[in-house]
Symmetry: C2
Subunit: 418 residues, 2 copies
């Protein structure tokens, strides 16, 4: 606690912070005191950000996003009130202002230049995130360990139901037929590959560079008696060879990096040719913008969420026609609500596995992602595509909605439900 | 008829033509004779192209697409067999070869440079096509005069039913609510604007630079008692002012020209802001490529069908998120089948209105477009978008398919039906 109140340096830094967050309804308390150091120029606020010391304050002022993320993770920045609501109001206020200083931009540029999505870089990045142990993810994912946006036929569906519905939505969209050979690029813990083989009569070769995930998936295939029809391969998407009828990738494009989209397209064309079809499911943007700096630094090194025009670089050079794009942004917000709730129920276990800093960093990552999908800073696109010689294009999309649980209800609007 | 058979110049030109069309199953007959002049190096063929004289042959060899189009229109090139089937086999053979010579490419480049989509150029282009008289279009369009891709809930729907279904599909996709103000950019003869006002309780301001279409639409609004709720305005999309809740444009983007997409996006943002939503319905491509040279020269000056990544230049600069993309390519092929059939039944009337050359040119335009959609050289995209503050995003797309006629049937595949 600072006995004498903030110094003139501290006041300058606090003013800088206030400039960044604009008119967001946030109260800043410096010195981590119980109400000490409240600055007089603040209006009535809902949530409070407690900043422990000058170093945390300086980093917040100089590199707001990373400064906040690291400060929150280290415990030097604490939040009084609701984290998601605070992040939401910060987002809107910063959007209204759009006031990055030259040094923030320069620093961001430097960071953006140093993103490495080569095969070696990718392996490092994926290891950083996905090899954290299956036990950890098992604490807050659904029973099938699906670590991508779910599809909620109704918003009250459980996470388990919604992940199952997502897998069926994907399988129907790519019109799997018994006997099809499917390649899955980036298969996580294997749930989609196993689901396709088990329920759609297809053979799957599923690729992933996370050693721990592949081992987990192989054990599942064996346990479920599907090892003959699902092959889990620990390799980079760039090394995928052979032929297939359908190419599916759910939640991998985010890790590919925009400069490698043509390589991914090349792999898709090499394996499916002009008569193939496929689906890309990925986190994207309405407008091109780098991924959150803090998340890239601490959680997802190498991540990039493309605008649709950028993602088209995978498909257009090979003359793949887009058949269908669906935006599931609110489904990801709902998925993240479930994950965050489950995560909070397991934090003591997470703290035992790692430490308190890890607990806070991952809370912020989940809450920040939830906010980003809710406010529309991130989108979730499912893109169905087909080559010019693909012959089973459906006449309408009606078949995706047969037997839907909502058929007799009125349309539901997102904002009536949140 | 050439008594002595083709000269060595003719043989050279015929060889050039054969090089262009590759292994297409087409028989060439030079001199418009009944079987004379068949070249010995041809394999068994289905359809026959009769070429009357050296000038037509030269133009076919030098500028294949325009040479064929102009030759067909003038009657110097005649087709024995089925025009659509011939065009289809030419398309596939040329796709396989992709062998434009340097002078074909240079000439095409020159043509592409000289496309003028300024307000004056646009007015000239639109006049060229759409002011051909409503009587002419009335011979082969549906009763409501809808001159864009229809939506066939089932492939056996009539053209009238399918145009009605298309208008409802569009209205549901943009979630029209009673009281909404709608702007329509490029309104044709006014059918969609009138349909929206009549059936969805909205007010519409509809823009078009075709004087004849606007006058026709105004008369319809008056006759249907809708003049108070639909205003038809003869003006360029760049001059649209005021505010609206939803922005709809069906079949105009093709005439905007890629270099003006940002201007269109500016108009959309100026009128709908961040809380608006809208729909763009347009002819596009899987991969960027200039529009058919002959069609631009003779039928649609200034036309360009964008790849999705290009069309995103309308939306991404303004942070509009894509909610839904549907590809209705086969619905346009079906629409064109209907138009071509009706057109063929009216050719004597068309010849009275214009002349035989016009009859043939428009037959080729309709048959060529039908082929392009069938083989996948052209696509038809419906793109639904919304600003970040739009609050009524539907939870799923299920609501588009309520009460669909197909609900109890098995999925239908395109190729099983054609």
């Amino acid at each position: 606690m600072l006995k004498s109140g903030p110094s003139s340096i501290d006041k300058f830094l606090l003013r800088k912070v206030r400039e960044v967050v604009g008119d967001a309804p946030v109260r800043f308390v410096y010195g981590e005191a119980n109400g000490d150091g409240v600055l007089p120029f603040q209006k009535e606020s809902v949530d409070t950000m407690f900043i422990a010391d000058r170093r945390a304050l300086f980093e917040l002022a100089a590199y707001p996003e990373v400064g906040f993320g690291d400060g929150y993770a280290s415990g030097k920045i604490r939040i009084g009130g609701d984290l998601v609501r605070l992040l939401e109001s910060l987002f809107y206020a910063i959007e209204r202002k759009k006031n990055e200083s030259w040094y923030q931009r320069a620093w961001a540029r430097w960071q953006d230049w140093h993103q490495d999505n080569s095969p070696e870089g990718s392996r490092r990045h994926i290891h950083h995130h996905y090899d954290l142990t299956s036990d950890f993810y098992g604490l807050w994912l659904d029973a099938r360990m699906v670590y991508t946006c779910a599809y909620f036929p109704t918003p009250s569906a459980t996470l388990e139901e919604a992940q199952l519905a997502k897998m069926d939505h994907v399988c129907r969209k790519v019109q799997l037929q018994p006997g099809d050979d499917v390649i899955e690029a980036g298969c996580g813990w294997g749930s989609l590959a196993l689901h396709m083989a088990k329920n759609y009569g297809v053979s799957v070769r599923a690729f992933n560079i996370s050693k721990e995930q592949i081992e987990y998936a192989r054990a599942r295939a064996k346990a479920e008696g599907l090892a003959g029809r699902v092959e889990f391969i620990e390799d980079d998407y760039r090394n995928i060879k052979g032929r297939c009828d359908a190419f599916v990738s759910v939640g991998m494009l985010e890790h590919v990096g925009a400069e490698h989209y043509k390589e991914l397209g090349n792999v898709i064309h090499r394996t499916t040719g002009d008569s193939g079809r496929g689906l890309l499911h990925f986190i994207g943007r309405a407008k091109a913008k780098p991924f959150s700096r803090w998340i890239r630094k601490r959680i997802f090194p190498g991540a990039y969420a493309p605008a649709l025009s950028e993602a088209q670089e995978v498909l257009e050079p090979w003359n793949y026609a887009v058949l269908d794009v669906e935006n599931l942004r609110f489904h990801y917000a709902k998925t993240l609500e479930h994950w965050l709730n489950r995560y909070e129920q397991s934090v003591s276990r997470v703290a035992e596995m790692f430490d308190e800093e890890f607990v806070r960093a991952w809370r912020l990552y989940l809450a920040g992602s939830l906010t980003a999908f809710r406010v529309g800073s991130l989108q979730l696109y499912q893109v169905v595509f087909a080559g010019s010689a693909y012959e089973r294009i459906p006449w309408t999309r009606d078949f995706l909605y047969r037997g839907s649980k909502q058929t007799k209800e009125e349309p539901r609007w997102i904002h009536a439900m949140s």
